[in-house]
Symmetry: C2
Subunit: 114 residues, 2 copies
């Protein structure tokens, strides 16, 4: 058995201040909350438990220092949950960051392992 280059790679991108706080999972939760207007709808679509979703949300808000979600009452949908403007900005920038890192990784992988 001689060297054969691995065929795949995986890159995990996370953001934080003091403790690893914001990654792919919470970004997806926030995107689904924006889509559905409901946290329960978001974590259910991800197959995530309520307690897990709350835990990662609270840990992220504590580390980031601003709220990611807010409750809305009344209105056409009879209330629900929304992503805060700060949360939307963070998700957008996280996705930009992740996309740039993944693009670099694809180029580097091709040049080194192909």
């Amino acid at each position: 058995m001689s060297y054969v280059a691995p065929q795949k790679y995986h890159i995990k991108v996370r953001l934080y201040n003091e403790e690893i706080a914001f990654g792919k999972g919470i970004a997806q939760i926030l995107e689904l909350v924006e889509l559905h207007g409901s946290l329960a709808a978001a974590y259910k679509e991800m197959g995530m438990s309520s307690s897990k979703a709350w835990k990662i949300l609270q840990r992220a808000e504590a580390d980031l220092g601003f709220p990611l979600l807010k409750s809305v009452s009344g209105g056409a949908h009879g209330g629900g949950t929304e992503v805060t403007p700060e949360g939307k900005e963070l998700v957008e920038k996280y996705r930009q960051f992740e996309a740039q890192v993944q693009e670099c990784a694809a180029n580097a992988f091709a040049s080194i392992f192909r």
Copy 2:
């Protein structure tokens, strides 16, 4: 509390064929085996258990399809463990890949979050 950009990021880089198999930990084990000529010296320096070290080594070799370590007997050091040529090539390429990804990430983070 308004948006404040997170100050730090973390990028995890792993290689595999079928299952996540090769990352920072095993790369460090192999580098320390090269340094010390002993697997025990390597995992002890990392504060890793023997069973954990063997588990990730066996899982990686099974997924990669080539051996990462070989036993050597006799010689000046009275035998020990060496990294195979294939293992050395993989570690070198993993470090190149990781370095390029981290450099991209540093630039992207600075442009998006600073």
